[in-house]
Symmetry: C2
Subunit: 206 residues, 2 copies
């Protein structure tokens, strides 16, 4: 298979963060509150806020950055180690898939909310635009594996391909996955090793 | 290649810890101090002490368990994330290889020491006895890769084979590497994927 860019995909390591629903933001920060954009993120329209909240589990709490804009349901994205530190047993899920996930307490400057579900360890994933997906021979929901190079090299499996017209090409890892390869937050490029579609292996690197 | 145990090797995840020289232990805990054994470890003769010390870097400090018995030189074993949290830029090294590694301050109940070097991110490694190494077709300093199964599966490369008559068969990962696969401290078994010897690939799984 011949891939663009010599088959290399930029990696981004995402630290734990929270997406808030408008209703929860209203409780945590007050009705009509406008977040301050700290940084535009690589995915178009997404930004990190200056604001943070405290996420509390049964055994501890962690400060989490808020990402905007608001979403239909509040979602806390934790690495496995963040779950360990707070006592929340966090399952791996795709973004937005909250069925059967644990909740937590979120504390903001104006109030706090108890969410019943929505704490996830985000499944490894690739963002790609419709146009680039064609060039790479990838389709929505393909499952890929990819190798992070370096002296602490690793191949990660079970990463889902997410396709959207506005997506920019990159692979998202959580901090545990990045740290296991000694990657900085923006660090390095990965090479696709295999592609599965509908449960069948359709391509594998030599 | 036909391996014993269906080719599966127990994995142990090692949290950060410190091995002390006798001289440094004398300063930190007092001359003649006897550590209390909390737990015998899987490698014969090694034990975790009830005692902990504080390891300080330029940006933070972390509590670290002491492992015994004493060694010729003090060594702090950190995961990459521990280095990040303390501000120590920790290089990957085999145990005992301290040339060019950073130092730190270690604080105990009776005093503190500044070590000039010895903070390492331990290279992934396999412990194996001489007898088992023969059965597995492995030699000292072979470099292997291995796959951790599960929904957050990963293959880790560049793990060094360490052979000693008293070693018990297992693979040691640091907490970042374990967390990237959602492994508990004692968690799971890995399958060897490749063996390199003297820089040459001598075997690879299909």
């Amino acid at each position: 298979m011949h891939f663009p860019n010599d088959g290399l995909i930029p990696i981004e390591v995402s630290a734990r963060h929270v997406h808030l629903s408008q209703a929860d933001q209203d409780v945590l920060f007050g009705v009509g509150y406008q977040m301050t954009v700290k940084k535009e993120l690589s995915q178009t329209g997404l930004w990190a806020a200056e604001e943070t909240v405290i996420v509390k589990g049964p055994n501890g709490e962690l400060k989490c950055r808020v990402l905007g804009p608001c979403r239909p349901a509040t979602q806390v994205e934790f690495a496995y180690s963040d779950g360990f530190r707070t006592g929340i047993d966090v399952p791996m899920r795709e973004s937005g898939h909250h069925e059967g996930t644990p909740g937590c307490t979120i504390v903001g400057p104006k109030g706090s909310v108890e969410i019943k579900q929505g704490v996830i360890d985000p499944q490894r994933h690739l963002h790609i635009s419709d146009e680039e997906a064609k060039a790479w021979g990838l389709e929505k929901n393909d499952i890929i594996s990819f190798t992070v190079p370096g002296e602490q090299s690793a191949t990660y499996y079970n990463a889902v391909v997410r396709v959207h017209p506005t997506f920019r090409l990159n692979i998202h890892l959580d901090t545990d996955e990045g740290n296991a390869c000694s990657l900085k937050t923006f660090g390095g490029k990965a090479a696709i090793k295999s592609i599965e579609r509908g449960g069948k292996l359709i391509w594998r690197a030599e």
